[in-house]
């Protein structure tokens, strides 16, 4: 199902217009028009409501303007126009008309504000999101596991998200599921939502947060209960121990004697706290803040010179021999 564009009948005519304009140039993984949660559906419904009011007002006002311009253009031989200074009834009328329209926008707005105030029902899955320059840390306090940049959620389960920041303000935004809500150091913000379809969803930081703001992306994998449980079990298990004499085993040694351990944690190997935990890095689909697919090639480039791929990244370029680089990549990929 990932990324496919679906239509809920004619609910999203803007999408139709859009597709005509782009001539089906592809999929829109961050489109707000294709919501897949209760939260995003509420917001999309409200937007659609206001959109049609706006279209109505736009058409009326621009039509009046065009009629005035065409009908009253200066003509030769026409007399002086009547010096009308105003018309009280008319002016009261066009004060009340927008006021009335606004009632039809304000009421559903208030209703939606309270409906999306961020309180999940009892028994919701709790997730804590912590923003870092420029990556995401997720903690599942009840499951006692953590994840990085890629969030895994069970489908059709209410989720209570609590968020804060370790440094500057970031904003958590997965257009099709939830958001956006700011992550602010010293504060806890809440949102609640329930994803209604399995699949891979894209998101990224929406609040300007410094050099690599553009590169602070994220993925959400909404999974069936059994798939989610498998993922949780995998995270709970310790990191894989490489077989004796395998390239991964050599990589573990390289990791141990390199700068890696200063910043990264791998359970039982290293306890660095500055960068993301790598205990299960091999199981992730992406690296570097959901910036690149997790392949040997991208991992190698990342390790050799991270700041060149992600401006401002704290990880300094590593000066590893080709053999050491191959070994450490093999090791990281073995950490499923």
């Amino acid at each position: 199902m990932r990324g496919a564009v679906y239509f809920d009948a004619v609910r999203f005519v803007p999408v139709l217009v859009l597709l005509l304009l782009t001539a089906c140039s592809g999929q829109f993984p961050q489109s707000v028009f294709v919501p897949r949660s209760d939260f995003s559906s509420e917001l999309a419904g409200l937007f659609t409501n206001i959109f049609w009011w706006a279209v109505g007002v736009f058409v009326i006002v621009e039509t009046l303007l065009v009629i005035a311009l065409v009908r009253y253009r200066a003509r030769k031989g026409a007399g002086e126009p009547k010096p009308v200074h105003g018309h009280t009834a008319l002016e009261i009328g066009w004060t009340l008309a927008p006021a009335l329209i606004l009632v039809f926008i304000a009421v559903p707005t208030m209703r939606t504000i309270f409906a999306t105030a961020g309180q999940a029902p009892e028994g919701a899955l709790h997730v804590e999101v912590i923003g870092h320059q420029w990556w995401w840390e997720y903690r599942y306090p009840t499951l006692n596991i953590s994840a990085y940049n890629e969030l895994h959620l069970p489908v059709n389960t209410p989720v209570q998200v609590e968020m804060t920041s370790a440094d500057v303000i970031h904003s958590f935004w997965i257009p099709r599921l939830a958001g956006k809500r700011d992550l602010i150091q010293g504060r806890t913000n809440r949102i609640a939502f329930r994803a209604d379809s399995t699949g891979e969803y894209w998101g990224q930081c929406a609040e300007f947060c410094g050099a690599s703001h553009a590169n602070m992306r994220l993925r959400v994998f909404v999974q069936s209960d059994s798939a989610f449980q498998r993922w949780v079990d995998q995270q709970r298990a310790g990191p894989a121990t490489p077989a004796k004499g395998s390239p991964a085993e050599a990589g573990l040694q390289v990791f141990r004697r390199s700068a890696c351990i200063g910043c990264h944690t791998i359970a039982g190997v290293a306890q660095g706290k500055i960068g993301p935990d790598l205990s299960h890095v091999g199981g992730r689909a992406t690296i570097a803040g959901a910036l690149f697919p997790n392949t040997s090639e991208t991992l190698q480039r990342w390790i050799m010179n991270a700041p060149s791929l992600k401006p401002g990244a704290l990880m300094p370029p590593q000066n590893l021999s080709p053999q050491d680089l191959d070994a450490v990549v093999a090791y990281l990929q073995s950490l499923k």
């Binding site: 829109f28 993984p29 937007f47 706006a54 606004l102 707005t109 935004w173 300007f208 690599s212 401006p311």
Partner: protein, 597 residues
């Protein structure tokens, strides 16, 4: 040359404001073109670095708001307001000169950051501000922005704030006290009214950002923690303070343009402004409401449902007086004899485009709907429909309207129409697709985006549109320049306007009015039901008119301010003290200078 440096004539200061602001407008536009060029391709674009890109969008926003749009309005305040109210100058002519010099020097100070890198041992040439035009804490803290970039920004804005405040007080006093006999408040031309409201907003809003910038300065220079959560401060406090200034600032930018088109539409439809009092009062209401909506910039910060509801409600209310104004403008055109001059085209363009910005504004006012829009290209589209489609089109309308009055020379109508149509096409091509880029998930302020997002085509359209605007602006620039070599043949009232500035020659003599006119109606130069047009003023003044000479002291005092700022930037107290001494001596000499009105 000397006479321009020491001038206290409001008309010359108006022209200085105009050309300086137009220069900054071109710089801000150039920054926008580099931004748009970078975004023409996904995944790295044309290779502009993240750091440079962040500087460009920060300086584009800061420049356009503080160095282009506000001072372009100020050019009209200076030139037109004393003429419209029948005065010989503003209330404080030397303070007026001081405002201009502070603005110029503040603008140069900010832009000097583009080449100041080597002075601070930076890697590159440029250390321009890079934290966005609203500089959210705590990204602006020393910890996360260690370079001088943010210092340039906060000190530059402090300098510019002084210019705005001085001008604000000056024009409030001028409009209230310098009116010709019979010019009652409800006979003031609508442009003068909107200017008065704008200046009240300036003198109430700028102190708020001044306080915020002082607190930020303390955080950065003296290690306080007003905005730093690690030390018990609160980054959200910055957002409240900034937007308490920032939202009135939006009306500071749009109300003068609304005033301009309220002059242009009646003149070119040969009809009085429809519902004059309602247009005036709705301007006042917009300004009042403008104070109660600031948190709608902060819906995503988690204010809670009560605050969200209140600010959504007050924001929606603003749509009412704004809608009233739009209907009154259409009512003015209705039944008229419309002459399609370039000035009128831009005024009509204002109405047509501002509606789009206003309606997308309603989708922002609805807090939950805004959650999917804020900090995306959708909001970039919104501000550009309001500030380009609104303010800039309004200002262009005013330039075509008053240029003959200001210089005695006509702009070319032919080139004007090319300028208008290219601008209209360019802006819609540039800004309309941004609605889609945003709703398809493209955040603002990103130097690169993945091709998979599917927004590449929309970005390409925006880039093409931006370059069309660039070409249109060059046509306009040439149109302005060439008037220097055109004959000075504009009559006193080339368009048949109704207000006092059209009663005197183009360009006006240094004393403006040979005799201060006595005003008997809202439309002094027109035949109305109850009043005939006023009797023409004599060609020569009946008695010699004393006009004030020039003064060096406003400019010298103004020079002290960037010196103080440079001292602060370099952490050198002696330079700060030297700058302060220049200011003190300048004000002292200014105060005791023999100078008569």
């Amino acid at each position: 040359m000397k006479s321009w440096l020491t001038t206290t004539d409001h008309k010359r200061i108006g022209l200085l404001y105009f050309w300086t602001a137009f220069g900054f407008f071109m710089i801000g536009g150039l920054e926008a073109l580099i931004i748009r060029a970078q975004l023409v391709r996904p995944d790295g674009g044309l290779g502009v670095s993240a750091e440079t890109f962040n500087q460009l969008f920060t300086m584009h926003g800061t420049t356009m708001v503080f160095l282009a749009l506000m001072p372009l309005s100020a050019a009209f305040f200076n030139f037109i307001i004393p003429l419209q109210i029948g005065a010989r100058d503003v209330a404080f002519p030397r303070l007026n000169a001081f405002s201009y010099w502070v603005f110029l020097l503040g603008g140069l100070f900010l832009n000097a950051s583009f080449i100041a890198g080597p002075l601070f041992g930076a890697d590159g040439l440029s250390v321009a501000p890079d934290a966005g035009w609203f500089g959210y804490a705590n990204l602006t803290s020393r910890q996360f922005s260690p370079g001088p970039n943010v210092d340039f920004w906060l000190l530059g804005l402090q300098i510019l704030g002084i210019a705005s405040l001085a001008a604000g007080f000056n024009f409030v006093v001028t409009i209230l006290n310098m009116r010709a006999p019979g010019m009652r408040m409800l006979r003031l031309p609508p442009f003068t009214w909107m200017t008065l409201i704008t200046q009240f907003l300036v003198i109430t809003a700028f102190p708020v950002i001044t306080v915020a910038l002082v607190l930020l300065m303390f955080d950065r220079f003296f290690g306080t923690h007003f905005f730093l959560p690690a030390g018990g401060g609160d980054p959200i406090l910055w957002q409240h303070l900034f937007w308490m200034f920032g939202h009135p600032e939006v009306y500071i930018l749009i109300l003068p343009a609304m005033g301009i088109i309220s002059e242009v539409l009646p003149t070119f439809s040969k009809k009085p402004l429809f519902g004059y009092t309602v247009v005036v009062y709705s301007g006042v209401v917009i300004a009042f409401l403008g104070w109660s909506v600031w948190s709608h910039h902060m819906f995503s910060t988690g204010l809670g449902p009560i605050a969200d509801s209140v600010f959504a409600g007050t924001t929606m209310l603003i749509a009412i007086p704004t809608g009233v104004k739009i209907f009154n403008w259409i009512g003015t055109l209705w039944g008229g004899q419309i002459r399609f001059t370039t000035s009128l085209l831009f005024a009509v363009g204002f109405i047509a485009m501002f509606i789009i910005g206003g309606l997308s504004g309603v989708t922002h006012a609805s807090a939950p709907s805004d959650l999917q829009q804020t900090d995306t290209y959708y909001v970039v589209a919104h501000i550009h429909y309001v500030l380009f489609g609104g303010t800039i089109l309004g200002l262009f309308s005013g330039i075509y309207y008053w240029w003959p009055k200001m210089t005695g020379r006509f702009l070319s109508e032919g080139m004007g129409k090319v300028h208008f149509w290219l601008t209209l096409i360019g802006m819609n091509l540039a800004f309309f697709p941004m609605h889609f880029s945003g709703l398809l998930g493209m955040p603002r302020r990103i130097y690169t985006y993945p091709a998979e997002l599917g927004v590449t085509r929309f970005n390409q359209l925006s880039t093409i549109g931006a370059f069309i605007i660039g070409i249109a602006t060059l046509v306009f620039f040439w149109n302005l320049l060439r008037t220097r070599w055109r004959p000075s043949n504009a009559p006193a009232n080339p368009w048949g306007g109704a207000t006092l500035e059209w009663a005197i020659p183009s360009p006006p003599p240094v004393y403006n009015f040979t005799v201060i006119p006595t005003v008997a109606s809202r439309l002094p130069l027109w035949q109305t039901e109850r009043h005939g047009p006023m009797t023409p003023l004599p060609d020569q003044p009946p008695a010699p008119i004393h006009v004030p000479g020039g003064s060096w002291w406003p400019m010298i005092t103004a020079f002290g301010l960037p010196i103080i700022a440079m001292g602060a930037l370099a952490h050198l107290i002696p330079i700060v003290l030297a700058g302060a001494a220049v200011v003190v001596v300048g004000i002292y000499r200014w105060a005791y200078e023999p100078f008569e009105m």
